[in-house]
C-alpha cells in the first residue's frame, strides 16, 4: 500500500495522471462533450463543476471507460485508454448513490476488487483490515451495508476503490444524496482522505461550494466545454467568462452598455440608467453590450455617504426591500433610489446594521476594481444568484 503513494502532491508534476486531448462525444447533433482538453496533476484534487446537463457526467464516464469517446485521446498515468474496458483501467469510481453491494458485507465489498484480481484470501483480509482502519471503520468487516450510516457508507465506497490503489479516483457527486449537515461534514472528510492517501481525485459536482472547498483546481463546465480552469480563488476573484462569474458564488448581474472605456476601467450604464464603474475582462469598446457582476460581499453598506466619498468610491442611495437573515450568510435586498435596480448585499457581521429594517434608507458602494465586466452574449445564463 505504502509503496505506490506519491510522496508530494501537485508540485512535482513529472507527468499528469490524467490527460485528455480534444475529447468529444456527440449524441446526434447534441454535443455532450465538445473538444475538451484537460490535465490533472498527480496527487491533486480536481473538480469539474457545472449545471446538470453540461456534459460532466458524460466526461467522467468516458474517463472511467463506460463510454467511448467519439474522438480525442484519454491518457491515464501516461497510458492511452482507447478501447480499454472499465475493468482494465487503473481508475475506480465512487458512484452517485455509492452502489455498495447489498448482498455482501462491508469486508466483502472492500475486498471485491482484490478478489477479482486473484489476490490470496489472507492477503485480501489483511489489506481490507488496513484499509478499513485508514477510513476509521476498523472491525466493520462483518457489518451489513444497510447497518451503516450515510457517512460510513461513503467511506466504505471510497475504501472499496482505494484498496485497489488506482491511479485516479473518480467521484460522481457522491455527496448529492446526503442531508446538508452530513454533506458539510463529509466535505471535510473527503478532503482529509484525499490528503492522507495522496491519490488523484477527479470530482464532479453541480455544487459550487463543494468544488471550491475541496479542490486544488476546478474546471467550470458549460454546454460541453470548459469555461475556465483554475484554482478556486481564481474562479471566484478572476472569473474569465460571464458564466463563471454567474455560476461560481453569488453575484448581482447588471446588463448594460459600456459608456466609457479607459484601459481596464469601464463605465457600464444599465437600461434603467444606473452607472456602474467596473473592471473589464477581455477587450471592450465603447458602446458594447456588456454585463457587470457585483458580488454581494464586495458591496459595502454605510451609514454615511461621506465614508465612501473619502475612499474615492462611488456611492448609491437605496431603500431596504427585504432582509434575508441566514446567520453568517445574511444579506439584504436593496432597491437603488433612482433606477429601482435591485441589489443583494451581504450584511456586515459587525452588528453595525443589526437593526436594519425594511423601508429604511441606506447608502452603499463598492470598489470598481472588484466589479468585473464582460462583453455580453458570450454565454447566456440565468444564474444571477446561484
Amino acid at each position: 500500500m505504502v509503496s505506490t503513494l506519491p510522496a508530494a502532491p501537485a508540485k512535482l508534476v513529472a507527468q499528469p495522471d490524467l490527460r485528455a486531448t480534444r475529447v468529444a462525444k456527440h449524441y446526434g447533433a447534441f454535443r455532450a462533450v465538445d473538444d475538451l482538453s484537460l490535465e490533472v496533476a498527480r496527487g491533486s484534487f480536481f473538480s469539474i463543476l457545472g449545471p446538470s446537463g453540461c456534459g460532466k457526467t458524460t466526461l467522467l464516464r468516458m474517463i472511467a471507460g463506460f463510454l467511448e469517446a467519439d474522438s480525442g485521446d484519454i491518457l491515464i498515468g501516461g497510458k492511452p485508454m482507447n478501447g480499454v474496458p472499465p475493468n482494465k483501467r487503473p481508475v475506480n469510481m465512487v458512484f452517485q448513490h455509492l452502489a455498495l453491494f447489498p448482498m455482501m458485507n462491508v469486508g466483502d465489498n472492500v475486498g471485491y476488487g482484490l478478489a477479482r484480481r486473484g489476490v490470496a484470501k489472507d492477503e485480501i483480509k489483511r489489506r481490507v483490515g488496513n484499509m478499513l482502519e485508514r477510513v476509521s471503520l476498523s472491525g466493520a468487516q462483518n457489518k451489513r451495508v444497510d447497518q451503516l450510516s450515510g457517512g460510513q457508507k461513503q467511506r466504505v465506497a471510497i475504501a472499496r476503490s482505494l484498496v485497489l490503489e488506482p491511479t485516479l479516483l473518480l467521484l460522481d457527486e457522491p455527496l448529492g444524496a446526503l442531508d446538508l449537515k452530513l454533506r458539510e461534514h463529509m466535505k471535510i472528510e473527503l478532503k482529509q482522505l484525499q490528503a492522507a492517501f495522496g491519490t488523484t481525485f477527479v470530482y464532479i459536482t453541480h455544487d459550487q461550494s463543494e468544488a471550491l472547498v475541496l479542490s486544488d483546481h476546478v474546471a467550470v463546465m458549460n454546454q460541453g466545454k470548459f469555461e475556465q480552469v483554475g484554482t478556486p480563488q481564481q474562479l471566484y476573484y478572476e472569473p474569465q467568462t460571464p458564466f463563471v462569474a454567474g455560476f461560481v458564488g453569488a453575484n448581482n448581474r447588471m446588463a448594460g452598455r459600456a459608456t466609457s472605456v479607459l484601459g481596464e476601467q469601464v463605465s457600464v450604464t444599465t437600461a434603467k440608467g444606473l452607472v456602474i464603474p467596473a473592471r473589464a475582462i477581455g477587450k471592450l469598446a465603447q458602446g458594447d453590450a456588456v454585463e457587470a457582476f457585483v458580488r454581494p460581499e464586495v458591496a459595502r453598506l454605510v451609514q454615511d455617504a461621506a465614508v465612501l466619498a473619502d475612499a474615492g468610491l462611488p456611492s448609491y442611495s437605496a431603500r431596504v426591500e427585504s432582509l434575508l437573515f441566514d446567520g453568517a450568510n445574511s444579506a439584504v435586498l436593496l432597491q437603488e433610489a433612482v433606477t429601482q435596480t435591485e441589489f443583494r448585499i451581504a450584511l456586515p457581521q459587525t452588528g453595525e446594521f443589526a437593526h436594519l429594517s425594511v423601508g429604511q434608507a441606506v447608502t452603499f458602494g463598492f470598489d470598481p476594481q472588484r466589479v468585473v465586466c464582460f462583453a455580453a452574449g458570450t454565454s447566456s445564463n440565468a444564474h444571477v444568484f446561484s
Binding site: F66, P86, N87, N92, M93, F95, F101, Y112, R116, R117
Partner: protein, 296 residues
Amino acid sequence: MSLAETPDVSRNSARLMLMLLLAPALLWLLGLIVLPHLELGILSLRHRVAPRVYEPSLAQFATFIDEPLYWHTFVRTALMSIVATAITLLMAFPIAWTIAKIARGRVKSMMFVMCLIPFWVSETVRTLGWMILLRESGVLPALLVGLGVTPAPIEMLYHDATILVGLVYTSMLFMVIPLISALESLDDSLIEAAYDLGGNGWSILRQIVIPHAAPGIVAGCIVVFMLTLGNYLTPTLLGGKNSQWFTEQIYTQFITRFNWEQGAAFGFLLLGLSTAIVWAGLKLSGQKFGEVMQRS
C-alpha cells in the same frame, strides 16, 4: 350514540368488511381445497374388502411400493419436472434480462406482449400445434426431408425431449415474469461498480446479479415446477403412451380403473413429492418461502 361507542362501532364494521372481502377466498379454499383433500385423505386410507365394505388400511401405499411401474413413473415425473424447470430457467433468464435491462420503451412492451401472446390460445390448442409441427407427417420432418437432412420423415413426437419442449414452452411466462421484476429492481450502477472494480461478465452474474435475483429465481422455479409436475395434458399428448407421467396414473386410477382409493393415495404422494422438492429447493438456495412468494 355516545362518543365512547364510536371507535367500537367503526372497529366492528371494519372487521365485518374484512370478513366480507376475505369470504370468497376462504370459501374457495374450504370448498375446493380443504374439503376434497379431507375426503381424499379418508379414501386413501381405506381398503375395500367386499362390495361396499371398507376397512382402514395402508394397502394403497403398499401397492405403490410393490409395483415398480408406479414408483418408476413417480421418480421419472419428478426428475423430468426438475429438468424442465432448469431448462425453463436457463431459457427465461436471457429473455427476462433483455426485457428488464436492455430493451427500452416500445420494444420492451412489445417483447413482453410477445411472451404473453401464446397464452391467449388454450393449452390444448398450443399442444396440438406442437403435434402438427412434430408428427411424422408434420411440418418439421417434411422440412428436414426437403433439406436433405434425413432420407425419410422421422417421428418427432413421443420422445422425452418432445415432452420437455412442450413443458418448457408452457411454463416460460411463469418464469419470465418473476425474473423481470427481480432484475428490474437491480440498480444498474451495482453492475457498473462491479465492472469498474475489475469484475467480468461471469463473476458479476454470479456475485451480483444472481444473489439479487435469487428470490425471483426461486419463485419462478417453484411455480414452474408445480405446474409441470401437475401437468396432465402436455405430457399425455406429446409423450403418448411413453409419457409415463404420474398425473396419468392418477387419472387412470380414478377414471379408467374406478379405483378411487388408489387414485387418492397417488394424489397424496404427488402432493408430498412437490412439497418435499420445493422445501429442498428453498433449503439449497437459502431462501425463505414468505419472501419468495412476495416476489412471484
